[in-house]
């Protein structure tokens, strides 16, 4: 899989892929159809695993040759040792987790760096919807309130606070819209929040 293939399929992942070092050992928590790991393996010489729970996604990942482990990561990453990975990815999955804080702490434990993305609840159309008295429905939150798998709604500023609390230092934080960086008013104009984080150095 080439970079152009990835960019065409998932512009957000194409942006994030730049943050993963060539040859890195990677864990993709909630790897979906495995497209990111597929790209990182074939184009950047990375190794590692994808975690998924849903049967059809495990199959889709296996079909791509991704080393996928079927596991409910809501129960943590106990199967992995400390500092096992150069980079842990958790892309557009966090908002579906019940135990966000526990998972983040585990991500800190098993990886040196982490990249986390989630739909930015403070994206202006979402704010507009709320102002009109309705729950937001958008491309990044494409569900009605009663059928959404997203149980956690956060904004860029909210996440920054939690990251600090669980021992993660924010290296970079960008807001993306259509896969491109939003530099002016990111918490308002960005639909996807992307954080590049690393373990805080213990002092």
């Amino acid at each position: 899989m080439t970079f152009d293939d990835l960019k065409a399929a998932r512009p957000d992942l194409a942006f994030i892929a730049h943050w993963v070092q060539p040859g890195a050992h990677v864990l993709d928590v909630g790897c979906g159809d495995g497209v990111m790991m597929d790209y990182l393996q074939s184009d950047k010489g990375c190794s590692g695993y994808g975690l998924e729970l849903a049967d059809e996604r495990v199959l889709a990942s296996a079909k791509r040759g991704v080393r996928v482990l079927q596991q409910d990561f809501e129960k943590g990453l106990g199967i992995f040792g400390d500092d096992s990975f150069d980079t842990v990815l958790c892309l557009s999955s966090l908002q579906m987790m019940k135990h966000v804080e526990d998972l983040l702490r585990d991500i800190v434990r098993v990886g040196h760096e982490a990249i986390v993305s989630f739909p930015n609840f403070a994206y202006w159309p979402h704010r507009m919807a709320l102002l009109k008295g309705r729950m937001p429905v958008s491309k990044t939150l494409p569900y009605q309130w009663y059928d959404t798998p997203n149980v956690r709604c956060a904004t860029i500023e909210d996440f920054r606070e939690l990251a600090d609390e669980v021992g993660l230092e924010v290296m970079e934080c960008v807001a993306l819209a259509e896969g491109k960086i939003v530099s002016v008013l990111p918490n308002l104009r960005g639909e996807l929040a992307v954080f590049r984080l690393r373990k805080k150095r213990s002092t």
């Binding site: 190794s47 049967d55 495990v58 199959l59 296996a62 079909k63 080393r67 482990l69 079927q70």
Partner: protein, 378 residues
């Protein structure tokens, strides 16, 4: 295939000469890179897939998995099934003549281990001119053999496919096996293992052993759904009466009828000494024992890529046991794919049709096949 060279066994005993029954499916390619060894579990044999022209009812034990167009596609791969030593389907076993005495081995057949089987399988592979398998695969006890291959002959397999297996038996597993063995050993017809000479078979012991084993292959839910507390109908004054107890020790419940039938059927074709030997091989399997119980250290020398699958309702070799293997492989940064199939059928699920399971194995072998083709092209 006959082997005239003695085989040194783990126990210290030596098999002077021996025979291994095997079957092959598909065609070995020119660079001998498409061979897959399929290892059998307790009561199966080298007859993995298909059926014989003169015996169309005798379908291979993993026919839903192996064959033309099946998940392990014999149009692509050259598949080998071997009957293990000590078994009762043609390879040298306790019912065969001991060259030292001129009489059947009986209980004198040496206790064989998973590692002994794998060593013999490797000698067979030598004879067949296969230096390296594309994959070694097995379920349950067969999975233990695949795992042992990856440890004993790391360079001789590129993929290790371990289904519904475990790195070692639990105390509960061993306990069930010992009850089964006791059933056989205490059957008067067992005659210290030399029943062949007396023209008898310890059928009752074998039957009970199989009944116990069978319970552990099924899940509680599966049994409840299939049988529940359903009663066998009885005939009263020439009229079928439903739902009545018989107030005796015959068959009241359907589950009793089913298990007894399974036990009877098994005792017709299986060998009592083989049952003892194979359950002992299960009990003894514990490769980490040589590394102070450290499975990660045990698997440090492996080179294969791994595919593991377990079944959520399997309480014999539960998903936790497969996860132990996965975890040890992760410690060593081995390439591993692991699926936990939410199937209702307990341990037996590994032999049954389940689209999720079959599709995953198919997808995995598709990757193995692509590697074989790349290798051929190189």
């Amino acid at each position: 295939m006959a082997f005239a060279e003695p085989l040194q066994l783990q126990s210290g005993a030596v098999l002077r000469d021996y025979k291994l029954m095997y079957e092959t499916y598909g065609t070995l390619n020119a660079d001998r890179s498409n061979a897959v060894l399929v290892c059998h579990a307790l009561n199966a044999s080298h007859h993995v897939a298909g059926y014989y022209a003169d015996d169309p009812k005798n379908v291979g034990w993993w026919d839903n998995m192996v064959g033309p167009g099946k998940p392990l596609d014999t149009n692509k791969f050259f598949v080998i099934g071997v009957n293990n030593l000590g078994s009762c389907f043609g390879s040298t076993g306790p019912m065969h003549v001991n060259p030292a005495t001129g009489k059947p081995y009986g209980a004198a057949f040496p206790v064989v281990t998973v590692e002994d089987w794998v060593a013999a399988q490797a000698l067979l592979a030598d004879r067949l001119g296969i230096d390296q398998f594309a994959a070694v695969m097995g379920g349950s006890l067969g999975g233990m053999q695949a795992l042992a291959w990856s440890i004993m002959f790391p360079e001789r397999l590129r993929h290790c496919v371990v289904i519904a297996s475990t790195p070692k038996l639990s105390a509960q597993n061993i306990a069930f096996n010992d009850v089964a063995r006791q059933a056989i050993l205490t059957d008067p017809d067992y005659r210290g293992g030399d029943f062949y000479e007396y023209g008898v078979v310890p059928k009752n012991g074998l039957k009970v052993a199989r009944m116990i084993g069978h319970i552990t292959y099924l899940s509680d839910d599966d049994m409840a759904e299939k049988f529940g507390r359903k009663l066998r109908g009885i005939v009263e004054n020439g009229v079928a009466a439903q739902g009545k107890y018989k107030f005796g020790f015959g068959i009241d419940f359907e589950i009793e009828s089913y298990l007894r039938y399974q036990g009877d059927k098994f005792s017709e074709y299986f060998d009592a000494n083989t049952y003892l030997l194979i359950t002992k091989a299960l009990d003894y399997f514990d490769p980490a024992r040589l590394h102070d119980g450290d499975l990660a250290k045990t698997l440090a020398g492996t080179r294969a890529k791994f595919f593991l699958a377990s079944f959520t309702t399997d309480w014999r070799f539960s998903p936790e046991r497969s996860r132990e293997i996965v975890q040890a492989l992760l410690c060593n940064r081995r390439e591993v794919t692991y699926a936990e199939i939410d199937a209702p059928h307990g341990h037996d699920a590994f032999l049954l049709e389940d689209a999720r399971y079959m599709n995953l194995v198919r997808a995995y072998y598709e990757q193995v096949w692509q590697e074989v083709q790349t290798k051929e092209g190189a």
